[in-house]
């Protein structure tokens, strides 16, 4: 019978922290929509602007994540 993969405590800790990232989703959606709504009046342009803003926020977060992840290799 194949042996189940063993994971260290830090692995589970990091997975648990990754799950906490889901809490960012409502914030990103709300911030993008409200920001879009302050720039336009109709729903179409508001949603377009919100999608652009959300992509920008997620991209920014991903960049910071990659930088911190890279730094963690050296520290």
């Amino acid at each position: 019978m194949p042996e189940a993969p063993r994971h260290s405590a830090s692995y589970f800790k990091s997975v648990r922290r990754m799950n906490q990232l889901w809490y960012a989703v409502p914030l990103i959606v709300s911030i993008s929509l409200v920001y879009g709504a302050t720039r336009h009046e109709s729903m179409g342009p508001i949603l377009n602007n919100a999608v652009r803003a959300a992509s920008w926020i997620v991209g920014f977060m991903a960049t910071i994540f990659v930088i911190l992840w890279a730094v963690s290799w050296f520290v």
């Binding site: 906490q20 809490y23 409502p26 914030l27 959606v29 709300s30 911030i31 929509l33 409200v34 920001y35 709504a37 302050t38 720039r39 336009h40 009046e41 109709s42 729903m43 179409g44 342009p45 508001i46």
Partner: protein, 185 residues
């Protein structure tokens, strides 16, 4: 009247917005997120602001079981976050009532909902009521505080929108506005 326009694109929206009485609208927008826009008959945006701002506000409040929004300006517990949370308006006002009640009678109402921690120690090594809240809710205390603060700050944007209308987006090339619209065919 405010015109919402995006000159960079010829198909951009051109809508005139009747702001009615902007000061009254801004006041309503602060008292209840989205209410200012409802007053201006901008129902879609009013609903959007109401859902977004109140959604994350009450979600954050639930994360901390109603303890993340409280008003306190004691030397050991200056709750500056409440200034941001106050941007939500009426939903954050019970904290002021609770703060006054605790100051006068020492006992909060509503099972401590939005009440400031009773015992606060200036010594960081002592376990007081605030540290007990952190211990009980762990990261959710900070997360709830963050959610409710962002809700308040977002409502400031909504208040500005109710007062002055949407921010006009200026295209990269302003000379486009002077050009006549393209003819069909």
């Amino acid at each position: 009247m405010v015109q919402d326009s995006e000159p960079a694109s010829p198909s951009a929206e051109q809508i005139e917005v009747d702001l009615r009485n902007p000061t009254v609208a801004a006041l309503w927008a602060w008292i209840w997120p989205g209410a200012g826009h409802m007053y201006q008959r901008r129902y879609a945006k009013g609903t959007l602001f109401m859902v977004c701002v109140l959604g994350i506000y009450f979600f954050g409040l639930t994360l901390g079981s109603g303890h993340v929004v409280y008003a306190s300006w004691r030397p050991a517990d200056k709750r500056w976050q409440y200034i941001c949370q106050l941007g939500v308006g009426a939903p954050a006002l019970p904290a002021l009532v609770q703060s006054r009640q605790v100051k006068q009678n020492g006992k909060p109402w509503w099972n401590g909902f939005m009440a400031p921690p009773l015992e606060i120690s200036e010594d960081s090594g002592v376990s007081d009521d605030l540290s007990k809240l952190h211990l009980r809710y762990h990261t959710f205390f900070e997360m709830g505080t963050l959610y409710t603060m962002i809700a308040g700050l977002l409502n400031v944007l909504a208040i500005y929108d109710a007062y002055a209308g949407p921010v006009i987006v200026v295209g990269k090339d302003d000379s486009d506005t002077d050009k006549p619209p393209p003819e069909d065919g």
